[in-house]
């Protein structure tokens, strides 16, 4: 390609590219908090008018936002005791229930949607712009949310799924046994002080006692069995299970080992670190001592690197081969 051809190609580039998502709601929220600094605000006569407008807006918003739209996708789901025809509203406190042949789509305020699969039971718990919260008592949902992190929560009998900007499928039985599969962004699942971070392309088993260790969706079956054994089998067998996990781990499984590091008994942490570091070297500044001591700065630094590599592998899957140790494209 010569200079002229390059210039031609440059001239054909579009001058305008639409953002992949609507950025206005966040801009609106930010300028809303700064409205006091604008010159127009200094004009005193705006104050009573603005106050009245805000009051009306809040009243309308309150009425609007205490309920979400629901559409029947198949069959006739129940809202409370009423059969949903084509569409309806789910109010705070209402239960939505599907039978074995019905499905429904819930609009999560203005930030996303949740498909409720058959044999599921979901309650709307909080419907505010700052917090969107459902409870999944049993069944399966597919959630897609396009918002800043920690605006959308789903409570299950075993803990809470916290949206970090993502798409995922969450299933649970009424006791809390279930599975989380993340297909976009990242989800945190929390039970008390125990939390797991599940990035796109990863799965995690859930039990009534809390979240398991996440693993990539193409992890070999023996590795998955070893992870499940570590998470949920008798405590006395954990040292052996840990060794199994480490022996079977590949660089692609670094997200699992990062979680394992914080869950193994103290004497085994060094061994987990060494395996993790051999598969994905730590970033500069992250030391063995600090990581084994579970210092948050070291853990976060390591996670950032592991997560970045993992996302590159997932996003570029089928397009480029990414070295799972470094995150760089292989030639």
């Amino acid at each position: 390609m010569n200079e002229h051809e390059l210039q031609d190609a440059v001239n054909r580039l579009p001058k305008s590219i639409e953002p992949p998502r609507d950025l206005w709601p966040e801009i609106e929220a930010r300028i809303g908090t700064r409205a006091g600094s604008g010159s127009w605000q200094r004009r005193w006569y705006w104050v009573p008018l603005a106050a009245a407008a805000v009051l009306v807006f809040l009243l309308i918003a309150r009425a609007e936002r205490s309920a979400w739209d629901v559409t029947a996708l198949a069959g006739r789901p129940l809202i409370g005791t009423k059969r949903l025809a084509a569409s309806g509203r789910l109010r705070v406190g209402d239960w939505l229930q599907t039978d074995d042949s019905s499905r429904a789509l819930i609009a999560v305020g203005r930030i996303g949607q949740v498909e409720v699969r058959p044999d599921s039971r979901v309650q709307l718990v909080v419907a505010r712009t700052t917090e969107h919260r459902l409870a999944l008592a049993r069944g399966t949902i597919d959630a897609k949310v396009d918002a800043v992190p920690r605006l959308f929560f789903v409570e299950t009998p075993a803990g809470t799924a916290i949206d970090l900007g993502c798409a995922y499928t969450l299933e649970t039985d009424s006791l809390g046994k279930g599975l989380l599969h993340v297909t976009g962004g990242e989800v945190e699942f929390q039970t008390g002080s125990r939390a797991s971070r599940v990035p796109l392309g990863a799965l995690m088993q859930i039990r009534p006692t809390g979240p398991g260790t996440p693993y990539v969706d193409d992890a070999p079956a023996p590795f998955v069995r070893a992870i499940i054994a570590f998470d949920f089998e008798q405590r006395g067998t954990r040292a052996r299970a840990t060794r199994n996990v480490l022996a079977l781990a590949r660089a692609q499984d670094a997200i699992s080992l990062w979680h394992l590091l914080q869950r193994v008994d103290v004497p085994l942490r060094g061994m987990v670190y060494d395996r993790l570091a051999a598969l994905v070297p730590p970033p500069p500044g992250v030391t063995r001592r600090a990581t084994v001591a579970l210092e948050s700065r070291a853990l976060e630094g390591y996670w950032t690197k592991i997560q970045r590599i993992h996302f590159r592998i997932m996003v570029l899957r089928g397009v480029r081969e990414i070295d799972p140790r470094t995150g760089l494209a292989r030639e």
């Binding site: 390609m1 010569n2 200079e3 390059l6 210039q7 190609a9 440059v10 054909r12 580039l13 579009p14 001058k15 305008s16 590219i17 639409e18 953002p19 992949p20 998502r21 950025l23 206005w24 966040e26 801009i27 609106e28 930010r30 300028i31 700064r34 409205a35 600094s37 604008g38 010159s39 127009w40 605000q41 705006w46 950032t304 997560q307 970045r308 996302f311 590159r312 996003v315 570029l316 397009v319 480029r320």
Partner: protein, 172 residues
């Protein structure tokens, strides 16, 4: 139409401001995307630009076209951000993501354009900024030197380097 919107937004009308956003978001986002080489950074910078615009709108006197004034503001926001925070590590949603690039609509020679966009995103920061400002946005070396905080000669050298790297990349 745009003048009316600007005037209403200057008077504090958020609806008019939202319409201004709708009119100009694509142009601003394209600039941010190319200057940062990163989809998520571009979204954040686009938001920063419009928040800054809201603050600065009262200082717009109509001495130039609004779109040119906004464009200049956007360049300043992106370059200031980079100056104050330094080059941060690339985010995990790179423009290498083909889906992000293929969102460019209405491009009749999409193959070459997507390759070119990808190659621009892969340029070293300094070379990319100068290339985007000079070859795509039409700034002169003197202006770029001022905006980026480099010597004019450096701007020319970076442009030469950027073009060479792009040609090499596109020939592969």
């Amino acid at each position: 139409m745009s003048d009316d919107l600007v005037a209403r937004a200057q008077a504090g009308d958020q609806t008019a401001f939202r319409d201004l956003y709708r009119q100009h978001a694509g142009r601003v986002y394209a600039l941010c995307l190319r200057l940062t080489g990163d989809g998520r950074d571009a979204e954040e910078r686009t938001q920063d630009v419009f928040v800054r615009l809201w603050d600065k709108l009262s200082s717009f006197r109509g001495e130039s076209a609004f779109s040119s004034w906004l464009h200049r503001l956007a360049v300043n926001v992106v370059l200031n951000e980079r100056r104050t925070t330094g080059r941060r590590e690339r985010r995990v949603t790179p423009v290498e993501d083909p889906a992000a690039l293929e969102r460019h609509q209405g491009n009749p020679r999409e193959g070459l354009s997507i390759d070119l966009e990808r190659a621009i995103a892969d340029l070293p920061d300094g070379a990319r900024e100068v290339f985007v400002l000079y070859d795509i946005e039409g700034y002169g070396h003197g202006e770029i030197a001022q905006l980026v905080g480099i010597a004019e000669g450096t701007s020319k050298a970076q442009l030469f380097r950027a073009r060479r790297l792009l040609r090499e990349k596109l020939e592969r």
